[in-house]
Structures are given as structure tokens and as C-alpha cells.
């Protein structure tokens, strides 16, 4: 068996040979590789599936193993997908706490008819907490758009975008009935083990087009329920982890991108970087070719550029008053989520691959164990207008076709009441929706039973869901693998079926 090379992918040509005769030398090459903004896709043969097994990235053996670093490939360089993609970028709107499906996207008239009566079928063997009789939805559903997709009155603005939405009504979260494992399940594909999240896999598969911003941002991720693991890279290299902007406990207007607040005056920092670059250049030349050293020289230049350019993207004041108002900025209750959605659109425009927008604990959550009416009314009012505007805005800017928007939550809520007026966690059946990025709009896929208790038709497991998202990005979930601990890992582990019926 050939020994794996020291870097996750092999160069298409011998760059050492080229460098030996190149007047530019290593530094220029690495600088160019790291800074180039144009989509510089690898040749198709260099798809992620062909990456040699990892756990052996250059010189990573703390015990001083025999690996010698010879080359450096920028881990974030844009890579061609496995096959032509319909979506190039993703906005994942994550609704923390568990959005009730029977009150939002999965209308159940029988629930109203049998309000206050016992569920006529068997309840699950295990319930997170005991539930009582069926509880009718306090909200009315109506058909919307040309498609006639039914959406409840909780989302009047989003309903105007009904023809863009593909609601998956038959999501099944397996046995993950509490928030932590359920969050990990939807974000990483495993509620039990430490696994890379969806955004990390995406970045691993496709790289990033904009080198002056992180390729994967998570806005206001919660510190709860799995915390950093929900945007982490686990065993994938750290370069694929999500970069956090604020956290769930911090009001979004105060959220900052970590590390971007300059630690010194810019003029002095520039002088310092020049000094550092000269010293590093001399050192690299003296010790001989080691592309890691060149990569690190370039990474400081890139950091400096990121520091000056990221704040521009983050500066919402560059938007017109009309746009700000349309999203709901500077107005309650939409201000915070409007800022998040608007920033997400700006990041997509700037070429960020994956933006997760979190509506999250401890300040925002859909976990309506009691007082469902107030909880969901209040939360929907915060997100409805920002999300509807985001979809419209992306459409108008021609970005929705190539941007996959996902509205997800860790589980649904029980059709039976918890207490008098609440609903408990419900992973057995729930709804999420997709829009743009090559998804058929104006459809509902899958079906639950008359009460919304169990999936009746076209069950979508978490691996199915993930396989479909990767497919839209042009990635084959069975080929997007990473060798770790002696075997190849996938986001979808050992299952997952792409839902062909929802592809446009």
C-alpha cells in the first residue's frame, strides 16, 4: 500500500520542480494561492473523494513521526464539486428549541376536531415528558401563492414566498428527544459521537471563494446543547470549522467576529507585518523549501486583509434605508434577526460558502413546553419578516438560484398537550423547509398521519436530509469522505438517500 502523502491532496504538477526554476519563489506562490479571490477550481480529478486519507496532514504527529512536509495545499482553495451543482452557497436558518410543525407548516384539521380528546393511536414508547390529550393549533392555516402551499398565520410575510418553499413535512429525528443530541444530530449527523458539522463538510468539499472572509460563519451560535460542536470540524482539519460571530447570549448588534478587533494601531501593525514577513522570508530561505512556512507567511497577509475588509462586509450601514426597513432593522421585534439575515445576504454576496444564522438559546428559543401561543407568536414575529425579506432580496439579486436557504429546527412538538397549553419535544415527525439552490418551490414533501404524530409517507431521516443538501451542492454524500481512526467517515455515516422528488 502506498504511504499517504503528508498533505491532504497532491499537487497536479510538481511544484518543487517548478519552484526550482521560478524567479518568483515560494513566497509569491503561497501568497498567490492564499490570496487569489477568483474561483480557482481544482481539476475534476482532484475531487475531495480523491484526497488521500487524512489524520496525516503535514507534520502533525506530536511524537515526531516520520512524515516530512513537502508541499502545501491551501485547504480552503475552491474545489470543483463532484458533479454540476445547483447550489453554490448555503444559508442555514437554525431555529433552536423545536418549532411546532402542526402550528406552522403541517396543517392537521383532525387535531382541531379531536381537540381535548385522547390520541386514538399509540403514543411513542418513550416520551420526553408525559403528555395529555390532543391540542388543536391556535393558528389557522391558509393556502398561499400559486402553489397553494399551506402555511399557518404565524408567518404572514413568509407565506408571500410560499412558491419558493419546499416544505419537508416528514422529517424524522430518530431517537434524539432532548435538545443537545437533537441539535448535534441535525448539525453533525450524530447525536452521540463527535462529528464534523454540515458547514465543515461543505467547506471541506468545496473550499471557499472569498479568501478575505472565513468560508463558514455561524451567527449567534448557542453555547448550549452541544455548543461549539454544532459548528465545529471534529476530526476534519481546523480550517473547516465555523467562525463564530457572537453567541446566543450576546445581542447581535454587539456580536463581533473573533480576532478581528485590531490589537494595535493599523500603521504600526503594518510596519510590524513587514518586519515579520522579512524575517520569515529569510528564515524560510535559509532552512530550505518547506511550503508550510510559506503558507504561514501568506496567512499573516491574508489576516491583515481580512481585518480591513471583513468590517466592510459587516457594516450594515452601507445598506439603503429602504433595505434596512424592509428586513426590519431598528424596529422591534425584528431588529436582531433582521441584522442576522441581512448580514447573511451580504456574506453570500461576498462569496462566503456557508452561513448559519442561529435563533438560539438562551435569548431566543421555540421550546414551548407551556404557553405555546405566546412563545410561538413572539418568535414568529421576530423572524417572519427578516426571513421573507431575505428570500425576496436573494431572488431580486439573482442569488436565490445558486443559494440554498434551509430553515431547520432540532425537532417538532407533540400534537398532544403538555400541561394545558404547551407541547413537548417531538422528534418522530416534524417540518423543515428549503428554498432556492435548485429546489422545487411551492411543494410539500412527505406526509404525517392525521394528527402529525408519526411520519406516514416518504420519511426523511437526518442522513436523507443531509445527503440531499450535499447533492444540491454537487457533492455525492457517499464520496465525500474523510479517513479518521482507521476508516472513512461521511456526514451521512452509512445511510442517506437523496430526495430526488424535490430537485428542480
Amino acid at each position: 500500500m502506498p504511504r499517504p502523502t503528508a498533505v491532504p491532496c497532491s499537487a497536479p504538477f510538481s511544484r518543487r520542480d517548478w519552484l526550482a526554476t521560478s524567479a518568483l519563489g515560494f513566497g509569491q506562490l503561497a501568497l498567490h494561492a492564499l490570496l487569489s479571490d477568483e474561483a480557482r477550481a481544482e481539476s475534476p480529478g482532484q475531487s475531495p473523494a480523491n484526497l488521500p486519507p487524512a489524520g496525516n496532514v503535514a507534520g502533525g504527529d506530536p511524537a515526531g513521526g516520520p512524515a516530512v512536509a513537502t508541499g502545501f495545499r491551501d485547504p480552503l482553495a475552491p474545489r470543483a464539486p463532484h458533479f454540476p451543482a445547483t447550489a453554490r452557497q448555503v444559508i442555514f436558518l437554525f431555529m433552536h428549541g423545536g418549532v411546532s410543525h402542526v402550528d406552522t407548516f403541517d396543517p392537521k384539521p383532525r387535531l382541531a376536531e379531536l381537540n381535548g380528546q385522547p390520541l386514538p393511536i399509540a403514543k411513542p414508547k418513550f416520551e420526553f415528558a408525559p403528555t395529555g390529550n390532543l391540542l388543536a393549533s391556535p393558528w389557522k392555516f391558509q393556502k398561499h401563492g400559486e402553489s397553494g402551499l399551506e402555511i399557518s398565520e404565524l408567518f404572514p410575510q413568509l407565506a408571500t414566498r410560499a412558491d419558493d418553499l419546499c416544505v419537508l413535512r416528514s422529517m424524522n429525528g430518530g431517537d434524539q428527544v432532548s435538545h443537545g443530541p437533537a441539535l448535534l444530530n441535525i448539525n453533525t449527523g450524530s447525536g452521540v459521537f463527535a462529528r464534523p458539522c454540515l458547514g465543515a463538510w461543505t467547506l471541506y468539499g468545496l473550499g471557499s471563494d472569498n479568501r478575505n472572509l472565513p468560508g463558514f460563519l455561524s451567527l449567534s451560535p448557542s453555547l448550549y446543547h452541544g455548543g461549539t460542536q454544532n459548528y465545529g470540524s471534529a476530526f476534519l482539519p481546523a480550517s473547516f470549522q465555523g467562525t463564530r460571530v457572537g453567541d446566543g447570549g450576546t445581542p447581535f448588534p454587539q456580536a463581533r467576529l473573533a480576532g478581528l478587533v485590531p490589537g494595535d494601531r493599523p500603521d504600526r501593525q503594518r510596519l510590524q507585518l513587514d518586519l515579520l514577513a522579512r524575517r520569515n522570508r529569510r528564515h524560510a530561505d535559509a532552512v530550505g523549501g518547506d511550503a508550510r512556512l510559506d503558507a504561514r507567511i501568506a496567512s499573516f497577509e491574508m489576516a491583515y486583509r481580512m481585518q480591513s475588509q471583513a468590517p466592510v462586509v459587516f457594516d450594515l450601514s452601507q445598506e439603503t434605508a429602504g433595505t434596512l426597513a424592509r428586513y426590519g432593522v431598528d424596529r422591534e421585534p425584528t431588529d436582531e434577526f433582521a441584522r442576522q439575515c441581512l448580514l447573511a445576504r451580504r456574506c453570500i454576496e461576498a462569496g462566503v460558502r456557508f452561513v448559519q444564522v442561529n435563533f438560539s438559546y438562551p435569548r431566543n428559543y421555540w421550546d414551548a413546553h407551556g404557553d405555546l401561543r405566546n412563545n410561538h407568536t413572539s418568535n414568529a414575529a421576530k423572524v417572519d419578516q427578516p426571513i421573507a425579506t431575505l428570500l425576496a432580496d436573494l431572488r431580486e439579486r439573482g442569488l436565490l438560484d445558486s443559494t440554498l436557504v434551509v430553515f431547520g429546527t432540532e425537532f417538532g412538538r407533540t400534537p398532544a398537550a403538555q400541561g394545558n397549553d404547551g407541547r413537548d419535544h417531538h422528534p418522530h415527525a416534524f417540518s423543515v423547509w428549503l428554498a432556492g439552490g435548485g429546489v422545487r418551490g411551492g411543494i410539500a414533501y412527505g406526509q404525517t398521519d392525521d394528527f402529525g404524530y408519526y411520519v406516514q409517507e416518504n420519511k426523511v431521516t437526518m442522513p436523507d436530509f443531509h445527503a440531499t443538501l450535499l447533492h444540491l451542492l454537487g457533492l455525492d454524500h457517499e464520496r465525500l469522505t474523510y479517513r479518521h481512526a482507521g476508516r472513512d467517515y461521511r456526514l451521512t455515516d452509512v445511510s442517506g438517500q437523496v430526495i430526488d422528488q424535490i430537485l428542480a
Binding site: 504511504r3 465545529g232 471534529a234 480576532g259 482507521g486
Partner: protein
């Protein structure tokens, strides 16, 4: 000695030096299965202590270095780097362990209403950049790996990792440029140098001759890099200070503070250098 460190099974690779592996195993058994002794044996060996070689100089017969004709240049792990940073800047608190740090996190968690859940203290909490004991004593909260560890390829505390990845990305550089951990350490380093320098260092700092800075620069290089500066580096550093001092001019700060800021920036450049991070 086995490239597939997390797979010694049939799908893993064969050891490169089977006899050596056998001998080491024998020593391990003879020592009473003591891991520390084994590690000491390894790291004090002539092979392990070889100077790093570049791929350029490796012989074709050992193009990947697997026969240990030379050892690879090694990047310090985040623990080693952080400890080294604190040590050379004179900040390292060598006390072992710390209940206080765990208690801090718990107190802080209580302060934000999270009771005994320190994972709800943010990954960039000032605690993580002001803690100055060795990194081995930095509390690792399972679901809240602090930025300093997460950025620099620390292993995920939720899983078993045989060999860490090694990545080089811009957010690491942003951390090194802007994090209070590095800025404060650089400041401590600069202050220590200036305080220790002979004579009235602060009397007329801008008027000091180039030769006056020489002992400080020598000391800075010895301390951070374990060697003397070259004449070129001396000249370059002086040029940097000469350029940075007028920049720092700010009527609100004293001349001594301006000088300190320039030296802080210079010290930080040494600590950010590849020479500091990579072990030859």
C-alpha cells in the same frame, strides 16, 4: 514508526523500523510499563534530537523522511506554543494545577444564570486569554473548546485523536496579531527588556543611540529564539523602531509609553515568527 497511528490493524501500514519497534517494546516491558520512561527514552535519543531537515536536502532514498535520515521540522502544538509564549515573556505561572480556574468558570456560569455549566462561558471569555499557567492546566470544557485551542488544531475533547491535524489559516494569524494573550505577553516581554536595560532608559528614549538598543535586541533574540541576532536583524530591528516611534507619537501618551509600544510590537513580531513556532 507506524504511519497509521490510529490503525495498527490489517488495513494499517507496516512499521518502518520493525526491529527498533521490538526493541522499544522490550524496553517498555523491562521498565515496568512506564510510559514516562519510554517517552524519555524516545525524546533523548540521538535520532529524535536530530536537527530538522528540509525536503530539499533529503536524499532521494529517503524522500519522505520515513527512514529518519533526518526529522521533519515540527510545529509546536498549541500547548507548547502557548507555554513557550508565556515562558519567554516572563509571564508563565509555574504553579501546578488550579482549582481556581475551574471555580472561576463555575462562578462565571453562575453569574450568567447557568448554574454549574461552565460550557456556557463563551469560547473567547477573557479568562481564556488571561490565564497564565501552563496550558495543561487550562480547563477544557467539553462542549466549549476555547478559541485559542480550537483555532490551533487542538484535539476535539469529545473524541479520540491519534494524530492532530495541522492547519495554517488566516484566523490563526488574526489571533496572534490581536488576541490579548499575545498582545499582553508581548507587552510584558517589552517591559521586561526595557526595565532591565542599563541606565536611564526612559530619560531620553527617542534620543538613545543605536548602540544603546543593541543589548536589548540581543537579549530579546536570546530569550525568544535562543540565539544571537545577525547584523542584518539588528539593523532591521533598529529601522523598525526608528519608524515605529514617530508613528506612535500621540500627545496623550508619554514618551516612555510610546517607546514601550514600539518594543511591544517588535517583541510580538519575534513571537509570531515562523522560527518561534517551528522547531528545527
Amino acid at each position: 514508526l507506524v504511519a497509521t497511528s490510529d490503525n495498527f490493524g490489517t488495513r494499517g501500514e507496516r512499521p518502518t523500523h520493525p526491529e527498533l519497534l521490538d526493541w522499544l517494546a522490550g524496553e517498555f516491558v523491562a521498565s515496568g510499563f512506564r510510559l514516562k520512561s519510554l517517552r524519555r527514552l524516545l525524546v533523548t535519543s540521538a535520532t529524535y534530537r536530530q536537527q530538522a531537515v528540509s525536503d530539499r536536502t533529503l536524499q532521494p532514498a529517503d524522500a519522505e523522511g520515513r527512514w529518519l535520515a533526518g526529522l521533519p521540522r515540527r510545529r509546536l502544538s498549541v500547548e507548547q506554543f502557548r507555554d513557550a509564549l508565556l515562558a519567554v515573556t516572563g509571564r508563565l505561572d509555574l504553579r501546578a494545577g488550579s482549582n481556581e480556574s475551574g471555580e472561576y468558570l463555575i462562578d462565571k456560569a453562575e453569574g450568567i444564570g447557568a448554574k454549574i455549566r461552565p460550557n456556557r462561558v463563551a469560547a473567547d471569555d477573557p479568562f481564556y486569554t488571561t490565564f497564565i499557567q501552563r496550558t495543561i492546566y487550562l480547563p477544557v470544557v467539553r462542549n466549549m473548546l476555547p478559541d485559542v485551542l480550537a483555532l490551533f488544531d487542538a484535539a476535539d475533547p469529545n473524541s479520540v485523536t491519534a494524530v492532530r491535524n495541522e492547519t495554517t489559516v488566516a484566523p490563526q494569524s488574526l489571533f496572534l496579531l490581536n488576541s490579548p494573550l499575545v498582545r499582553e505577553s508581548s507587552l510584558a516581554f517589552a517591559r521586561q527588556l526595557l526595565t532591565a536595560s542599563a541606565g536611564p532608559a526612559d530619560a531620553a528614549p527617542l534620543a538613545r543611540s543605536e548602540e544603546d538598543d543593541r543589548p536589548l535586541l540581543v537579549r530579546a533574540h536570546r530569550q525568544a529564539l535562543g540565539r544571537e541576532p545577525t547584523p542584518e536583524e539588528l539593523a532591521e530591528a533598529r529601522a523598525f523602531l526608528a519608524a515605529a516611534l514617530p508613528l506612535a507619537a500621540d500627545p496623550a501618551t508619554s514618551v516612555a509609553d510610546q517607546r514601550l509600544a514600539a518594543w511591544q510590537s517588535l517583541c510580538q513580531a519575534l513571537l509570531c515568527s515562523n522560527e518561534f513556532l517551528y522547531l528545527e
